[in-house]
Point group: C2
Chain length 201, copies 2
Amino acid sequence: MTEIALRERRRRQTEREIGDAALDLFEAGGVDGTTVDDIARAAGISPRTFFRYFPSKERAALVPHVELDERVEAMLAGLSADRPLLDQLEEVWREVLLALDDGRSEAGRLLLRVRRLMRAEPALRLAAAAVDEERLDALVGHLVRLVGADDDLEPRLVVETAGVAVRVSLDRWAGAREAGRAVDLLETYAQACRVVRSPGR
Amino acid sequence: MTEIALRERRRRQTEREIGDAALDLFEAGGVDGTTVDDIARAAGISPRTFFRYFPSKERAALVPHVELDERVEAMLAGLSADRPLLDQLEEVWREVLLALDDGRSEAGRLLLRVRRLMRAEPALRLAAAAVDEERLDALVGHLVRLVGADDDLEPRLVVETAGVAVRVSLDRWAGAREAGRAVDLLETYAQACRVVRSPGR
DNA sequence: GGTCAACCTGGCAGTCAGTGCCAACACGGC
DNA sequence: GCCGTGTTGGCACTGACTGCCAGGTTGACC
C-alpha cells in the first residue's frame, strides 16, 4: 500500500526532474539541438532509464501536471447529460485556464514555458497533438456513455470544437507573452468561445 | 521552360510510384512493420533517393493529389471578404468532398485508402496532422490578408472549426466503409457542419 | 555530333532515437 | 540475513535520417 504510494511519489519526482532538465535544454538549444543523452546527463540518469520514463524526448517536455489533471478528471466525471455538453465543457476548460492564473501559478508557469516552446518547435506541437488526441478520445468515449448516444459524431465534434478554442487561446496567450504584450487569457478564451459558437461573422 | 515542366512531371510520377509502394506495404504490414528500405526496394529506387522525395516514410503515404490541390487552390484564391468566411470555406470543402465521389474517383479511392490506414496508424495520423497544420496556417494567413484583419484569432478559429468538420467526416466515412457500412460522405459532412454551427444540443 | 551545365541518383559513413535483454542493485516484508 | 519485486544501467542492435562525394543523365547550345 504505502510502498506503492512511495514509489509513485518517487517516480513523479524523477519525472519532474527529467522534465525540467528537458525544458531547460530545449529552451537553450532547441529540440533538434538536444539529444536524449544530454537530457539524461542533466537529469543524472542513464539514457536507458530516460526511455523508461518517456517514450520520446519530446514527451519529456510535456509532463502532465498531476494536481491539475486530477481536478480536470473530477470535473469531467461530474458532467451531466441534462445540460448542453458544450456549455459544460467550456466551463471546465475555463476553470482550467483560470487555474493557470495568467502564468503565475505553478501549473501556469510551466504551461507558459511549454506553449512558448511549442510555437517554435514543430516536433513539440506534434507530440502535444498526440497527447491531446488520446485525451480527447477518452473524453469522447466518456460523453458517448454519458448521453447514451449510439453515434459519436456529435460528441466528437463538440469536444474537438471546444478543444480548438482552448488550443488557439493558449497559443495566442503564449505568443503575446513572448512578444512582451499582455493578453488576458480568460478574455481571449471567452472571445474564442463566442466565435466558435457563431462563427459566421 | 519545357525542361522544367518535364522534370516536374517525372518527379510527380516517381513520387506517385513511391507513394503507391508505401501504401501497399503499409496496408500489408503496418507502418511500423515497413522500413524505408522496403519501400525503396518496392519502388525501385535507393533508400537515399527515397529521402530526396519524402522527409519521412509516413509522408510517402500522403502524396498530395495535384489535380485536386490545384482546384482547391483556385477556389481558395476566389474567396471573398464580403461574405461570411465559414460559409465559403464550407462550400469549398464540400466541393472537395464531392470530388471524391464517395471513393469512386481517382482521388477518392486514394484518400479512402489513406484515411482507412490512418485509423489504425497513429504515426500516419501524426504525419497528416503536420501536413494539415501547414496548409491551414497558410489558409489563415490568406484570410487575414483578405479581410485585412489586424488579428488572426477569428480567421484561425473559423479555419480550424471548418477543418474539424472535414476531418471528423472523413474519419467516420473511412471507418464506416471499413466496417462494410455505407455512409454518405456529403450527408455526414452536412450534419457535421450543422453541429459545428450550433453545437449546444 | 560534341561539349557544357544543371540536375538526379546511389553508395558510404555517420549520428541519433528507440528497444530487447541481461546482470546488478535497492528495499520493504518476513 | 534472506527473498521477491521493482528499478537501474550497460550492451548491442535496428532503423530513420543526413552530409558528402562520385558517377551518370539529359536537355541546351554551339
